[in-house]
């Protein structure tokens, strides 16, 4: 309802301006003409406030400016300026056209027109720069006029400018829109008041004073109303103040009658070479309703437009100032500067964003040149070799700043945001040749078209872009096989072409199934669905996995660095994240490698087990000998091979295999041998595993230090795993050692799946879900103590440091070859990471991993085994027996106490090092949920970080895990 704010860039260009070709009805009366302005009394407009306009508007009225006075003053100024311009060399500023595409395709025409004008090089020094607006309203639009108005507003700014320099001014578009719409709103009242049948013309003049030359610019909007006679009223209009936020849009009704400076020219066909004269054609339909609503601003947004730093003679090279207009030149896509072949490489340098002069790098390209992106000129081809051309054109097309600004695309009446544009462009069937403008899009059927026009294409349905479709989006005239597409409220068309009555479940028919439909479509030039868009609907539900264009990759990627001392389970967490968030966590090749890895691991475990068996056998035999020295002869006699039997003994065949395996393992080329041996030994393995000797050894596996804790998992499945056709499951991969550690660094890009429940699904979350995350896992082993490489990760948002809780009683060899508690090593590594200058002010999330092992272990081994935790004295030890049975009284278990204690220890350490807060989370790498939660937690932390200014610090404490029972 309220006129909203949109913005316009007003360009000031030197020397000349030109008019649009007039397309309206023949003009019988005089054309409007720019009115001289009193510089001291510049009319200035302010921004339209957002308040809705009441029916009865009482707008403040500005006192009219006396026309006589004005003309006099202005003519004086005109003289002055004219004389000044005589001294100036005639410089031609390139034409700049900001074309907001209208549904009528008027832009193309006008653009060509203006180009024609520019090349026509009719240099007219005009005292005032003038703006041409062309408003065109298509015929039978119904209720929501405002959208049409704003969208169909073609704005052309040929601008003139007196002095070279930075004289680019900006006019708030909203002023233009607001005032024009308001005036329109009031036209009726005014008309009634005036009593004539629709003379409505107003011209607003806008002025900016300059230090050097007080060039005045003039904006004039004249409207033809109802095709009636033109009453060209040149008015000194509402004050256009670009700085003020409060509106004072005054439509001085009194002035309409009082002021009449109709000294325009009366040529029926508007003379294009008449630079100072501007025509504003606003052709409104005859059958227009009186419900003029101006509720929305258009998609126009301020973009500071670059101008060439130097102005030169027309046709000359901007750098060497030589050449004429026939010399071949390359044009900067931003500022229109032209360079000859000698200068282009110097002026444009390495062209990281395509053809832009060095000073323009990083600026938005001129929209009118979008079509030329990636199209190389002959000159460049001559200057550079093929490879270089290819790189430049690729950069020009794909670099981020050259992309279509999302605000310029308006879908269903709402300008897109960045993420929506990505979504639109990366969908399986994207709209072809997306240009700035207003579009409608039917989410259900996937139909896509320009606002007010027929659907032009069928794109992927169910994309979450733009606002809800408006009933009159396609003007309601699209009929397909008797079913109205968009606009008829009674039918719904689904993406597969089936249609059903509103509110009904049953499908009434299937559009594309009818043989004639496609033919009809061809006749009516309506789109038919492409093959890809016909594919099943669920492929669109995971747009997530669809690859975005190259230039989008860097943006909005939040990096998490996952790091931890070796054995802290970072690899498991990483694998878990991969399984959680990727549709295809591991490719076929990867799976094959993992399969081999797991199998070789199992052989290794088996070797360790066999080694253990030999030891146990020997021990047993020794025991036997000690216990029954006398019966030794009998024993030998019984086992005819001269071997003694214990429960750990195995038969000769298995013994041979066992010896072979151990030999291979000692020689160290297990990996080289085993794939071939799998088939051969599969039956043996089965026999071996079922033998009592191996089972016996397996029962005593806790005595085998070499055997990792995960070995049990694999050994129990050994028979299956060592089959030739074994396929590793996700759980197998999670448990497997060495899957990710082959490389020093591994990363996975992912998106958090959208929350399943709708309650906390608000619009801000919607955008968040488009944020992409990257989990980078770095292996600490082989990365040295001094962490030179950490500098590379200064762009991560959060460091996730993993510590294995169960490490507290384990020992490892440090770089000085001495045995150190692994928890202490973890702590040392933590300290070096936290205090690294690269991670100054970085958020840290501590993941305390392997809680399941810890919980079990802490019951057996005291936490004080680690010297750092020697003051752990849990107070609840007496009730522990009860609490383990009945969780009703909420007495924390020893495991929980230990976890809180360690968390506090790390927090204290962290705050002593950095004076900041450490976030701690409990995780069990083998449980998908806990990994998911902790990564969500990391995301939340990053989000808080972004919103930190809005929150007080106290809110953070809610999430911190405090264990006050251990404070001392």
């Amino acid at each position: 309802m309220s006129p909203e704010v949109g913005n316009i860039v007003v360009e000031e260009r030197l020397e000349f301006a030109f008019a649009m070709e007039y397309h309206g009805p023949p003009i019988t009366s005089e054309l409007p003409r720019a009115v001289p302005i009193n510089v001291d009394r510049i009319p200035v407009a302010a921004v339209v406030s957002q308040m809705p306009l009441p029916d009865k508007l009482s707008l403040p009225v500005v006192q009219p400016i006396l026309a006589n006075n004005l003309t006099k003053k202005f003519s004086k100024e005109l003289k002055f300026l004219g004389s000044e311009s005589n001294f100036l060399p005639i410089n031609v500023s390139p034409t700049s056209v900001i074309a907001f595409e209208s549904p009528n395709g008027a832009v193309i025409r006008d653009e060509s027109l203006s180009k024609e004008l520019a090349s026509g090089s009719e240099i007219t020094v005009s005292p005032s720069s003038v703006y041409a607006f062309e408003e065109r309203r298509p015929g039978n639009d119904g209720c929501d006029l405002s959208g049409e108005l704003s969208s169909s507003l073609d704005t052309h700014y040929p601008c003139g400018q007196y002095e070279s320099g930075e004289l680019s001014g900006m006019v708030d578009r909203s002023n233009g829109l607001g005032s024009s719409s308001i005036s329109h709103d009031h036209s009726r009242e005014l008309l009634n008041g005036v009593g004539s049948s629709g003379p409505l013309g107003f011209s607003g003049s806008f002025e900016k004073s300059r230090e050097l030359s007080e060039s005045s610019r003039k904006m004039m909007i004249s409207r033809d109303y109802k095709g009636s006679l033109d009453y060209n009223n040149d008015l000194n209009k509402p004050d256009w103040a670009s700085n003020e936020s409060v509106i004072s849009v005054d439509y001085p009704s009194s002035r309409v009658s009082s002021l009449k400076v109709a000294d325009g020219c009366n040529e029926p066909g508007c003379d294009v070479k008449r630079a100072p004269v501007v025509t504003f054609c606003d052709i409104e339909s005859e059958d227009e309703d009186s419900n003029d609503r101006f509720s929305r601003a258009g998609p126009e947004v301020v973009r500071a437009k670059k101008e060439p730093a130097v102005r030169v003679r027309k046709g000359a090279c901007y750098r060497c100032l030589k050449g004429n207009r026939f010399t071949e030149k390359e044009v900067c896509t931003v500022c229109d500067a032209k360079f000859c072949s000698n200068c282009v490489l110097r002026a444009m340098g390495s062209m990281p964003e395509g053809r832009k002069c060095l000073s323009c790098i990083g600026f938005q390209i001129d929209e009118s040149k979008r079509g030329n992106l990636g199209k190389c000129s002959r000159m460049l081809k001559r200057l550079l070799n093929d490879l270089e051309i290819r790189q430049i054109m690729k950069a020009e097309k794909l670099c981020e700043v050259n992309q279509l600004p999302p605000e310029y695309v308006c879908v269903n009446g709402r300008p897109l945001c960045y993420e929506e544009l990505i979504l639109l462009q990366s969908c399986p069937a994207p709209p072809k040749k997306l240009k700035p403008g207003n579009y409608w899009y039917d989410k259900v059927s996937g139909l896509w078209g320009k606002e007010g026009q027929k659907p032009s294409q069928i794109i992927s349905p169910h994309l979450n872009v733009g606002g809800p479709i408006k009933p009159d989006a396609s003007n309601g005239n699209t009929q397909l096989a008797g079913v109205q597409c968009a606009g008829n409220p009674h039918f719904w068309v689904n993406e597969d072409g089936s249609y059903q009555e509103e509110g009904q479940k049953n499908t009434k028919g299937y559009i594309w199934g009818k043989a004639g439909t496609k033919l009809v479509c061809a006749v009516l030039s309506l789109p038919v669905p492409s093959k890809s868009s016909c594919a099943s609907g669920d492929q669109f539900s995971n747009i997530v996995s669809h690859t975005a264009p190259d230039y989008l990759e860097q943006r909005a990627l939040q990096k998490f660095l996952l790091i931890g001392y070796s054995g802290s389970g970072t690899s498991t967490i990483f694998k878990q994240a991969k399984i959680l968030y990727k549709d295809v966590p591991f490719s076929e090749d990867e799976r094959e490698n993992i399969k081999l890895l797991i199998q070789s691991n199992v052989y290794r475990y088996l070797g360790i087990l066999l080694e253990g068996r030999e030891r146990f056998e020997e021990e047993n035999l020794n025991d036997l000998r000690v216990n029954q020295p006398s019966s030794e002869d009998e024993l030998i006699g019984r086992t005819d091979g001269g071997e003694e039997q214990t429960i750990y003994s195995i038969c000769r065949r298995l013994k041979a295999f066992s010896d072979w395996l151990l030999k291979v393992m000692v020689s160290g080329n297990l990996e080289a041998v085993f794939p071939a041996s799998i088939r051969e030994y599969a039956p043996l393995i089965e026999e071996m595993w079922s033998s009592s000797a191996i089972q016996g050894a397996y029962k005593r596996r806790s005595e085998l230090e070499m055997l990792p804790s995960v070995a049990g998992y694999f050994l129990e499945r050994m028979v299956d795993i060592l089959r030739f056709d074994y396929e590793p499951t996700d759980v197998d991969i999670l448990y497997a050692e060495g899957v990710t550690s082959s490389n020093g660094v591994a990363c996975v890009d992912f998106l958090f799946p959208e929350p399943a429940y709708e309650e906390n699904f608000n619009s801000s979350d919607q955008h968040d879900s488009l944020l992409r995350f990257q989990l980078i896992r770095v292996q600490s082993r082989g990365f040295g103590e001094n962490c030179k490489w950490l500098e590379m990760f200064e762009d991560v948002r959060i460091v996730i440091f993993a510590v294995a809780l169960s490490d507290y009683d384990q020992f490892a060899v440090d770089e000085k070859r001495s045995l150190v508690n692994k928890m202490m090593l973890s702590r040392k590594f933590f300290e070096s990471i936290v205090s690294h200058p690269t991670f100054d002010q970085m958020d840290f999330l501590l993941l305390l991993n392997k809680y399941d092992l810890f919980e079990e272990k802490i019951e057996r081994i005291s936490l004080t085994k680690c010297e750092w935790f020697d003051d752990f004295h849990p107070v609840t030890s007496r009730n522990r027996a009860n609490s383990s049975n009945s969780s009703v009284n909420h007495a924390p278990s020893l495991g929980q106490l230990g976890f809180h204690y360690i968390a506090v220890k790390f927090k204290r350490l962290f705050s002593s090092l950095t004076d900041r807060k450490l976030y701690v989370s409990l995780v069990n790498g083998l449980e998908p949920n806990s990994v998911d939660q902790s990564l969500m937690f990391a995301r939340e932390i990053v989000k808080w970080d972004d919103e930190r200014p809005n929150f007080s610090a106290s809110e953070y404490s809610v999430y911190s895990t405090e264990a006050s029972s251990f404070s001392h």
Binding site: G349, S350, G744, W789
Partner: protein, 377 residues
């Protein structure tokens, strides 16, 4: 022999070694009656003087989105390869400043890159612990990416530096965070020799840089986080020919002097040093006192073609030009017009010595050339 006894003997041996090292140091100091700068001054040499236009930035290579970590020139043509944290290698034409190749890397954390002697392929390495070779002539795949033509895997730590053995495309020397250097045969993709490592007398910390002797490609020198530089003979992998002590911080950069008898080092202790490989002596220390107490580490060094100038990039964005004879700073590229806005991370001189290329964390590369009457120095 018990463990305790072993430990005792180890301790004793370590002490002996350090005592001997001290003796050596003393002896060297006795023998070293003067340094290069002192001698030059006594000979009446004057430092090279630079006019305002003698060394000017004549090209800026823009196109990377991330910090530039490494660059290398081709020996014959004026092409440069640069590696950046945006995960790309870019091959530039240094004359026109255009890109000829932009290679997307499988691992974005790249630390080093090198041009092959024939200019047919480039190598890069980084945190993925793999040295990847790209053949520039191979056709691109569907997405327009250049495929990896060879993966040299075997290092257990990041690949910090790599350099092709001059005059042959088939061999490459890498240094790695696993405390070793490696000599690779690219055609087979296998590591011919490993220099250093757990059981050998090599570096005791991450190796950060290598430089191959230009006049005798069997010799190369490596710089490491153990604050030493070591000279190696590719035929003798088991032990270093010589170990050069002197630095008090990580040796970030090593570069052979053009004559092949000396080499320069740059270190975290803020100094550059010049060592003689024949005598093992430290010839000169290049150190400029900064205003405040901070000592910016040297990130990268390069010699001019005559060896008279030493270009050294510092982490604070300075790039000093040292007169190697007199040990004086004759120019600071960081204060010139159009200089970098970030840390200068890598430096390289073109093969003919006519231009210097600097790469910086501000994601740009700049080419500096000698202006005026001076073409090469």
């Amino acid at each position: 022999m018990s463990v305790a006894e072993l430990k005792e003997r180890h301790l004793a041996a370590t002490q002996t070694v350090s005592a001997l090292r001290d003796q050596l140091k003393q002896k060297r100091l006795l023998l070293l009656d003067t340094d290069v700068a002192g001698y030059s001054r006594s000979q009446g040499r004057t430092p090279v003087s630079f006019g305002p236009t003698d060394l000017v930035c004549c090209r800026t290579l823009q196109g990377h989105n991330g910090k530039v970590y490494s660059l290398d020139w081709t020996p014959e043509k004026n092409r440069i390869v640069s590696a950046s944290q945006d995960g790309r290698l870019i091959v530039w034409n240094a004359l026109t400043s255009q890109k000829t190749h932009a290679i997307k890397l499988p691992c974005a954390w790249v630390m080093t890159c090198a041009f092959s002697p024939t200019g047919q392929s480039v190598a890069c390495g980084g945190l993925d612990s793999v040295c990847s070779i790209f053949n520039l002539n191979s056709p691109t795949d569907r997405d327009g990416n250049l495929p990896v033509s060879k993966m040299l895997s075997g290092h257990k730590g990041y690949v910090s530096s790599c350099q092709y053995v001059p005059d042959e495309d088939a061999h490459l020397i890498t240094s790695s965070g696993d405390q070793t250097c490696g000599l690779w045969d690219i055609t087979t993709g296998l590591r011919t020799s490993v220099f250093g490592g757990e059981f050998q007398s090599g570096h005791t910390a991450d190796v950060l840089s290598v430089s191959i002797n230009g006049s005798n490609s069997r010799m190369f020198v490596s710089g490491s986080c153990d604050s030493t530089a070591r000279l190696w003979d590719t035929r003798v992998a088991s032990r270093a020919v010589r170990t050069f002590h002197g630095h008090e911080g990580d040796v970030n950069a090593v570069k052979f002097f053009p004559d092949g008898n000396r080499f320069g080092t740059g270190s975290d202790d803020g100094t550059c040093r010049l060592f003689d490989i024949r005598t093992g002596h430290q010839l000169q220390v290049y150190y400029q006192q900064h205003g405040d107490n901070e000592v910016p580490p040297v990130t990268s060094i390069a010699f001019s073609i005559s060896g008279r100038l030493l270009f050294a990039g510092y982490s604070n964005g300075d790039c000093y030009v040292w007169d190697t004879l007199l040990g004086q700073v004759v120019l600071n590229l960081g204060t010139l017009q159009n200089s970098h806005e970030g840390r200068i991370s890598c430096l390289g001189l073109s093969a003919d010595g006519s231009a210097l290329c600097t790469g910086s964390w501000d994601s740009n590369l700049k080419i500096w050339a000698f202006g005026g009457h001076r073409k090469v120095i």
